[in-house]
């Protein structure tokens, strides 16, 4: 049964676990090389103070981009932040390579790591770039906010679907009708993915790809929706998470590719020989732009919605700063109404983008998996066979 392959989630989990911290290491290297720009938006949120002692005096800034980006703590403001473990693969001063594990960023700093707080940044140690006191951090394997929420949504999907999978193995739902509200609810999603997305776009070999695409759909939709909960973060608003998903689709497309598919890419039939040098590079490029666009689309859609909500809320503080507190209070109803509207739109977008991601993955796999030539018409076959039957009789 298709659910057996939910194990794919584990593969995804490992892949994201590897790629996500590496990316943050790469990013912090970039930060190291070129000093980062000042925070993009400068709306002030006067009543939120930073916990760290050295920044007690100035009010914390409200930074929408920063709020959406990855971090090494869970933000439960106004309650204290919950720091996540830091894991560093480090080359020590004597050239030995080791792994350091700390419960929190503060513990790492106390143990000799140095937090480089940027000039003019409003965050404390938590937002700073951590460097080794002696030696060099090779890979920053720390658990980050987005990784935490990616794992959380994987656990939710596994927790919801593994018991259901067990019931299917016993025959409940396969031989009989599904029992219970929960089972019925979840089966409707499975059938939606199989009958409305995968089968129409892949064709006869569709059922082989249902497990992967179902896993992707459930993971993405859970990630997207978890970001809309209070204190939640959207793991799919991180380009690395979407990139891993797109790479998985790319690998599936590679393995699904038939002889015809590769022929169409490397030696397109029915095209003048002089056009081929132009077309072949375009086709090869198209191989990579498809998953690239897949990753960017999900990432951009999930990031943009959150930024818009936060910017609308930020307008209150901008207006209060510019024209005084009274105007600020006046803007509140308008801002909140618009933010609520965008928020409701976000719920829709979260589901639509999961659908689009799965749909396009299925289409790319389907394009690669087709057996026959595109221009062959099934009608001719039918006519031909009819003619033979007539001739035979």
């Amino acid at each position: 049964m298709i659910f057996r392959r939910l194990q794919l989630l584990f593969v995804l989990m490992i892949a994201i676990a590897i790629v996500l911290p590496t990316s943050s290491a790469a990013r912090s290297m970039q930060d190291h090389e070129a000093a980062q720009d000042a925070p993009v938006s400068d709306e002030r949120e006067a009543d939120e103070h930073v916990e760290e002692g050295d920044h007690e005096e100035e009010p914390a800034k409200f930074d929408a981009v920063h709020h959406n980006s990855d971090a090494y703590y869970l933000d439960f403001s106004p309650m204290p932040k919950l720091e996540l473990p830091r894991i560093f693969v480090v080359r020590r001063a004597d050239g030995e390579i080791g792994v350091d594990f700390f419960g929190s960023t503060h513990a790492a700093v106390e143990a000799g790591y140095v937090a480089e707080i940027e000039e003019g940044s409003h965050g404390g140690i938590l937002d700073a770039h951590i460097v080794a006191g002696s030696g060099k951090i090779l890979v920053d394997m720390s658990i980050s906010k987005h990784l935490f929420f990616a794992w959380l949504s994987m656990l939710i999907v596994l927790g919801a679907y593994l018991p259901i999978a067990g019931r299917y193995k016993k025959g409940i739902g396969r031989d009989t009708a599904p029992k219970g509200r929960f089972h019925n609810l979840l089966e409707s999603l499975v059938l939606f993915v199989r009958d409305d997305i995968v089968r129409p776009s892949i064709g006869p070999k569709a059922d082989k790809y249902v497990p992967y695409l179902l896993t992707v759909f459930l993971f993405v939709v859970t990630c997207n929706l978890i970001g809309l909960f209070p204190f939640g973060a959207t793991a799919t608003a991180n380009i690395m998470v979407t990139a891993v998903l797109a790479i998985m689709t790319f690998i599936y497309t590679m393995f699904a590719g038939t002889k015809d598919y590769w022929k169409h890419i490397f030696w397109p039939p029915g095209i003048p020989i002089l056009v081929k040098p132009i077309l072949i590079p375009v086709e090869i490029l198209g191989l990579f732009t498809k998953p690239f666009a897949l990753a960017i689309r999900l990432f951009a859609n999930m990031t943009a919605g959150h930024l818009v909500i936060l910017s609308l809320i930020g307008l209150i503080f901008s207006f209060a700063d510019l024209f005084g507190p009274a105007v600020g209070f006046g803007v509140v109803p308008i801002s909140v109404a618009f933010a609520l509207f965008i928020f409701l739109l976000e719920i829709l977008v979260a589901i639509i983008q999961a659908y689009v991601f799965t749909m396009l993955s299925a289409l790319f796999i389907g394009m690669a998996a087709v057996e026959h030539e595109h221009h062959e018409d099934h009608g001719h076959d039918a006519e031909g066979s009819l003619a033979t039957v007539e001739a035979g009789s």
Binding site: D37, P200, S201, T289, K290, A293, I296, R297, A300, V356, M359, L360, L363
Partner: protein, 75 residues
């Protein structure tokens, strides 16, 4: 004017133009698709699938433009 200011201006204008182009493209695509599915509701599934493929291609190009704008704005 500072060069970085010009870069921000270019990024902003570029993002706007990208949105304009993608909006026009997808609008031209979605309108006829709606009409077609109203005329032939039984072909709804096929029309929607091919509409999403075309929309994805248009959106893909728009996203490439957007990525360049983002690079321009953050570097």
């Amino acid at each position: 004017m500072e060069p970085s200011g010009l870069a921000f201006l270019g990024a902003g204008l570029g993002a706007g133009l990208v949105a304009l182009g993608a909006g026009l493209g997808i609008g031209r695509l979605a309108g006829p698709a709606m009409e077609a599915s109203a005329r032939q509701p039984e072909a709804l599934g096929e029309i929607r699938t091919s509409m999403i493929i075309a929309a994805a291609l248009i959106e893909g190009v728009a996203l490439f433009g957007l990525v360049i704008c983002i690079i321009l704005a953050f570097k």
